[in-house]
Every structure is written in structure tokens, then in C-alpha cells.
Subunit: 308 residues, 2 copies
């Protein structure tokens, strides 16, 4: 019998771990609970960057060189928008637009995000369950030396350049876990936190009260895969952000951030280990499918060790 | 002083005449009043086929080989929509989507269609005034042997194959002329009807009561350019439709259809002439820019002759 695995994840880095898990765990036993704090509306269309990155990665459609969006994408829409004087700070690929336009239609017809995502995953033949953390809107805001910025303004338009003082998760307090989220936590034999940004990608998930409570009363072990490799983040602003928040860029800091939730951490081989916590080491860089398989195995082994 | 020209037009054929007029008449003196009976919503986006064909044609962006849409278009959106199980009977090009997405946003922000189109035309540096016949919704329905079909279902999905018994213009009675329409008719030195389908493209314009009344009380001569060449329509279902409505496919039928509104008709050289009506002949095929210039000159000359 394969273990039931539930993983909390953001976008790019997290999607790689989920792809590794997908190689090992049957779809019926694998659930990804995905950050929607980055979601926003652009050109009147609802964009779910982390969910879409997961969909593209797992369907084998992701653009590996860009690190976001679709492989073989075309850009006629953005060129035409620009010629019409429209905003061009956030690039929407032509193929990518399909998710957003169909999501707009489905939302307008009253479908919650979780149902819409289930439909997309089914159409692309994905066996696992992909759940937004909540069907309610939660918006990540970043307080910076340039003022309070919505996440995508900070992340895309300003390329993470402003110094961050604090992060605000608007709507999180009132958000309910999406249908299936609490059940996926309760039924899990192990729960993983993907190597996504703890502050920007995982915290919004943990900030949904009903979801957090389900994690707190869980039976299954909870293992985080550290996003740090050699004291740096593989991609994105994790290390820069930790410095700006006055934190040392270490696995110890991340372990303390997750606090009592965490049972163990998988760290990159040779990196300083967190103290007062079970851990294991592995090469956690995940460029190839084989890398992803290795990291998934290592994380699951660590979790299994805890249940023995 | 150049004459002030106002032209009533549908899509492809009409856009060619307007392009010819654009070569001769300064933008300040040229107004196109465009059919919006073909407008519909698709993927939750508002599509204005005739207005968009005019925009693309006059901006030099139209796809000459397809006869609709944009030159150099890509189709990633439709491919992705199809992979997600979405409808694929109506093709929306990637670049073309920009007009529809921006129009959706502007409409949702409360802008009327006439203002939106003015913005597009300005962005593309078009000097003439392009006006929808009305900012109110008017929908062309076609009663066929397969039942009552919305225009695009008949025209695109069913490729004009069903036999037509009657045409219904939903909402026309209650529609007001768009701002500027009546003024453009009153100020015109000549009014032209483009060689568009009289029943499907021009009738919806004439069915807007305030617009029709302005035409009836006008001072300027009104000249129609016949859509028939050698007893056939150059493109589209005009001749087939006339046959199904029990009409002979002649300039005489079209002249009688426009009735008392019409002062004169420009017909293709050698084609049977309408009786009881001023007319002129020209080669009315408009493949090249030069052809379009020639037909525009011929139509304006005919109108000018009437005012002498």
C-alpha cells in the first residue's frame, strides 16, 4: 500500500517536488494544497500563478527556460495589447490566456476555484488532486520601503527590488479551507511542505484558520523540504527577504518559523542543520526529473522514519 | 474643400470601400457607421466582428488571405482552449484577443462601445471616425430550416448552409443611434452605403429608428455601391440568401430593397442596371488599394453628380 501524501506548495520550486512525488505516489494518494495568495486579476481575468505553474509543470507543458508559463508560448496578445496602449508590466502568453479566460467564464457562472482547477486537471489527464488552499480570496501584500505593494507588483513589476518590512495576508482570517483540504490533511499518512518561500508562498496557506487547525491536530508527520541550498535560495527572493526581515538565512531560521508544526526537515547536503529537530540530508537541487524523484523519495523516507 | 462623407458599412466588403475613401477623404471628413448586429459574446468576451474588420483593414493589419482577423496571427489560445475542452467553433486569434479582452474591461468599467472604438482607432492612428450604429445591443437572428439561429451560429458554425426564411433584428426598435451618428448623417455632403450584404449588414443599421429617421430627413445624396458582381456576391452569402428569400439576384432587387432612401447606385460594369434610379458603372472588384481608390472615386463622383 502506498502512503497517502499531502503537500503544501507554492509555484516553481514546489511544483518540482510535486512532480517528483507524482513519479512515486499514485494520483489517488497525492494531494497538493496550493497557495493562492499570489492570485490577482489582470485585464479583468483571474490569474492563479502558483496553481497554473503546478498545472503546467505536471502536465509537462511548463516553460523550463523562462521558469514560468508554457513551453512554446507565443506573445501576439501582449504585442497587440501594447499597440492599443494597454498595460504591459505582466506578460500573459497566448496559450496561457486560455486558463484565465476559461476561469473567468467559470467564475462568472458561479463555479468556485477548486472546482475550476479540478476541471483543468481532469482535461489534462492529471491523476493527483490539486486544491487551492481556499476558494475565498486571500491577497498577499508586501510592505516595503516603496510602500505597500500587492504581491505581483512587488514580484513582477518591481522584480523584488524594494526592501520588505512586513507581509500582510489580506482576507486570510475569514478564508475557509477549500472543500477537500481538511480531509486531505486528516487522511494523509504524511504531510510535506514544498521548498517554496516560507513567508510568501507557505505562510498564506498556513494563515487559513481551518487549514492551520487541521494541521495542528493532525496525526501524520510533517516534513519541510528546505528551500535553501548552500545558504541561498535556488530561485526567487527567499534569501533577500529573510535578510530584510532581520533573519539569518539558515535552515534553523526556517525551522523556527514553522515552529511546532514541523516534525522534521530535509536539508541540502552539507548545509548547516537545524537543531532540536529531526532532519535528513539530500542533494535538493531539482533540475531533472531524476532529481525530483530523488528529493521526493528523500522527503518521504524522512517522514516514514518518523512514524516507525 | 473636401466633401464630408458618411458611409454605412458592414465588414469585409464595406471595409474595402472605406479604405478607398480613406485614401481620398481627410479623416476629419470621413465617418463610418458600422453594423453591430453581428456582435456577440464568446468566452465571456464581447466580439464586434464588423467594427474589428474595419479597424484591422484601415490600420493595415487585416489578414488578406483569410478574409478576417489579423495578418501574421498565431493560434496558441485556441489550441489551449481545445486541450481544456472549450468550444472551438469560432476561432479567436491570439492578437485578435487583445481587442476583445480590452473591450470587456472597458465595458465592465462602464464605457459605451462608441467610446471604446474611438480609443482603439486613436491608438492605431486612424484619422476617420468609426461609429457603431448604436451603443445598445442589437442582435441579428436568422430564421432557417434548422430553426432560429444567432447570426454567428448561422454564419460561422453552420457556414451559411441552412436555408434562410427570415431575418430578425432583436433590440433594434429600442436602440438609440450611438452619439455622433445622427450628426454625421446631418453634416454629410454625401452618404454612401458600402457593398455589404443589404439584409444582414446594412438592414440592422437602417433598423435603428433614430438613425433611419435622420437618413429620411437628410439633405445629402445617398448612393449605394452594389455588392453584386456579374450577378453574384463577391464574398459571403448575399446571392444565396436573396434566392432563399424568393428574390432575384439583381441590382434592381437591391435598389427596391433600399427603396425611397436611395438616390443612386454604383453597379459593376456591364451588370444589368436598376431602373427608375440614377446609376453609374465601374469595375467594383476591390482587391488592391488601387481598386479601392477607384471604387471610392466612382461612388463619390456619382453622389456629386446628384448635387449639381
Amino acid at each position: 500500500m502506498s502512503a497517502r501524501v499531502t503537500v503544501l506548495t507554492g509555484g516553481v520550486g514546489g511544483a518540482k517536488l510535486v512532480e517528483g512525488l507524482q513519479q512515486i505516489v499514485p494520483g489517488t494518494h497525492l494531494t497538493a494544497i496550493v497557495n493562492t495568495g499570489d492570485d490577482f486579476e489582470h485585464f479583468g481575468l483571474p490569474i492563479s500563478p502558483d496553481i497554473d505553474t503546478l498545472l503546467y509543470t505536471l502536465a509537462g507543458l511548463s516553460n523550463v527556460s523562462l521558469g514560468w508559463g508554457r513551453e512554446g508560448e507565443t506573445w501576439s496578445f501582449m504585442a497587440a495589447v501594447k499597440s492599443l496602449g494597454g498595460e504591459d508590466w505582466f506578460n500573459l502568453g497566448d496559450g496561457d490566456l486560455a486558463l484565465h479566460v476559461l476561469r473567468r467564464m467559470a467564475k462568472d457562472a458561479g463555479q468556485p476555484l477548486s472546482e475550476i482547477v479540478r476541471g483543468f486537471a481532469r482535461q489534462w489527464g492529471l491523476g493527483l488532486t490539486i486544491l487551492p488552499m481556499s476558494d475565498d480570496p486571500v491577497a498577499t501584500w508586501v510592505r516595503t520601503d516603496e510602500g505597500l505593494l500587492p504581491f505581483q507588483r512587488y514580484f513582477v513589476a518591481r522584480r523584488c527590488e524594494p526592501r520588505v518590512n512586513a507581509i500582510r495576508l489580506e482576507g486570510a482570517d475569514a478564508a475557509l479551507p477549500a472543500p477537500g483540504v481538511v480531509a486531505a490533511i486528516e487522511a494523509a499518512d504524511m504531510i510535506l511542505i514544498a521548498p517554496s518561500n516560507p513567508w510568501l508562498s507557505i505562510d498564506p496557506i498556513l494563515a487559513v484558520p481551518g487549514l492551520r487547525q487541521a494541521l495542528e491536530r493532525r496525526n501524520a508527520p510533517l516534513v519541510a523540504v528546505s528551500p535553501l541550498v548552500g545558504g541561498k535560495a535556488v530561485k526567487g527572493p527567499t534569501a533577500k527577504l529573510m535578510g530584510e526581515l532581520g533573519l539569518s538565512v539558515t535552515n534553523q531560521t526556517i525551522a523556527e518559523h514553522y515552529g511546532e508544526l514541523l516534525d522534521a526537515m530535509l536539508v541540502h547536503e552539507g548545509d548547516p542543520q537545524p537543531s532540536g529537530l529531526s532532519f535528513a540530508e539530500a542533494d535538493t537541487l531539482m533540475n531533472t526529473a531524476r532529481d525530483r524523484h530523488r528529493v521526493a523519495i528523500a522527503a518521504m523516507d524522512l517522514a516514514e522514519r518518523l512514524t516507525r
